[in-house]
């Protein structure tokens, strides 16, 4: 069995709602985290991301100036001087399947639907710490491998070609979002 040494991890929380930031900070400190930085909008979050170089970003979707989705896209710039690989956990009240797909396509690593729970948050953090996925770079995407299922029958336009690796079997982001509570 594995445990996470939270006191060695640096977190950045991005949420415009002060109550939700307090909840997240309480949960992370209870897990054992010491370094938890907070931003109330996407622009401040991006600045803090460059300055503090967090290990894990927890971002709300809906935020002023630019939202969590845009923040993810700005972090996932392969040529940036910062770290484009940091795990991003998208925390959101949006609960439709299409939102999960959009978040995935922005380079989000994990999706956690509100209402938030200690267990759901811990599991997402454990996932990104213990089971990081390879990154994929295409003309239109840079981020964690979005494939979580093997479908040899799929021949659509989004299929990658020239493949030699088998796909890692993992539950889909949508299934994980459904089991977040």
């Amino acid at each position: 069995m594995f445990r996470i040494d939270f006191n060695k991890l640096r977190f950045l929380i991005c949420d415009d709602n002060p109550h939700m930031r307090r909840i997240l900070r309480t949960l992370l400190h209870s897990f054992g985290a010491r370094e938890v930085y907070e931003a109330e909008d996407g622009a401040t979050a991006l600045e803090m991301y460059s300055h503090y170089v967090p290990d894990i970003v927890i971002a709300d979707w809906a935020m002023p100036i630019f939202d969590g989705l845009e923040l993810a896209q700005m972090i996932r710039q392969p040529e940036s001087k910062g770290n484009p690989y940091a795990p991003i956990i998208m925390l959101t009240g949006h609960s439709e399947k299409r939102r999960v797909t959009v978040a995935r396509d922005a380079g989000v690593t994990e999706f956690l639907a509100k209402p938030i729970s200690a267990k759901g948050l811990y599991q997402r953090i454990l996932n990104v710490v213990a089971s990081p996925r390879p990154f994929i770079k295409t003309k239109t995407y840079f981020g964690p491998d979005r494939r979580r299922n093997t479908s040899s029958a799929y021949m659509g336009p989004e299929r990658r070609v020239g493949e030699k690796h088998e796909v890692l079997q993992q539950p889909s982001l949508l299934d994980k979002a459904r089991s977040s509570i």
Binding site: H94, E96, A113, G162
Partner: protein
């Protein structure tokens, strides 16, 4: 700790994409422990949330006051992008936070109102009662939540408002299949 150096990053190129692998930069924070290890970080966090719960009523009151103010502004001055966004964000925050704060029925009503704001083709044409019934329901649920006999009433109120809102949205979006598909799609959040 968060970033590997460039020499650790391995890039495999294919015709349409690259696969980028690197040693797990966070592996050092993983620690193997005995199965009988008694540390319970999740339990500790749940207890910390419980300790915080005395503040939830006040936080929820702040959230519903913000929602009321957002709608009052619309009643007085009509919809603008900023006023619509403030109404949506206030509602959306309640949708996301209320269950954590102990008001799951209020979260359900807020979700229903979010759908109206997101999917009604013209907010000016939405009957005012649809907004006021949702907002008054959220206010009532938050103010009456301490009464045990009101819990089932709150849940029933939430269900009925959702039905009314969904019927309205299905009607006004009958010629907009992309919205209808989203409206009818199941939520990814498990039911209570």
């Amino acid at each position: 700790m968060a970033k590997n150096s460039a020499k650790d990053i391995e890039v495999t190129a294919f015709a349409t994409h690259q696969i980028i692998t690197q040693p797990n930069p966070l592996r050092k924070v993983l620690r193997r422990v005995e199965e009988k290890d008694m540390d319970d970080p999740i339990g500790r966090a749940e207890q910390a949330l419980a300790d915080l719960s005395g503040e939830f009523k006040g936080w929820m009151t702040t959230e519903v006051n913000r929602l009321s103010a957002a709608y009052v502004a619309i009643r007085h001055e009509g919809f603008s992008k900023d006023r619509r966004d403030e109404l949506f964000h206030a509602t959306h925050d309640i949708k996301g936070d209320a269950a954590t704060f102990g008001y799951p029925a209020a979260a359900g009503v807020a979700e229903s109102l979010c759908r109206v704001i997101e999917h009604a083709p013209d907010l000016e044409k939405v009957p005012a009662e649809l907004f006021t019934h949702h907002i008054n329901a959220i206010l009532a649920i938050v103010h009456e939540n301490t009464k045990l006999d009101s819990i089932s009433v709150s849940a029933e109120l939430s269900r009925r408002l959702r039905k009314v809102a969904d019927d309205y949205l299905a009607q006004v979006n009958r010629d907009r299949p992309e919205h209808l598909e989203v409206i009818l799609a199941p939520s990814i959040v498990p039911a209570e």
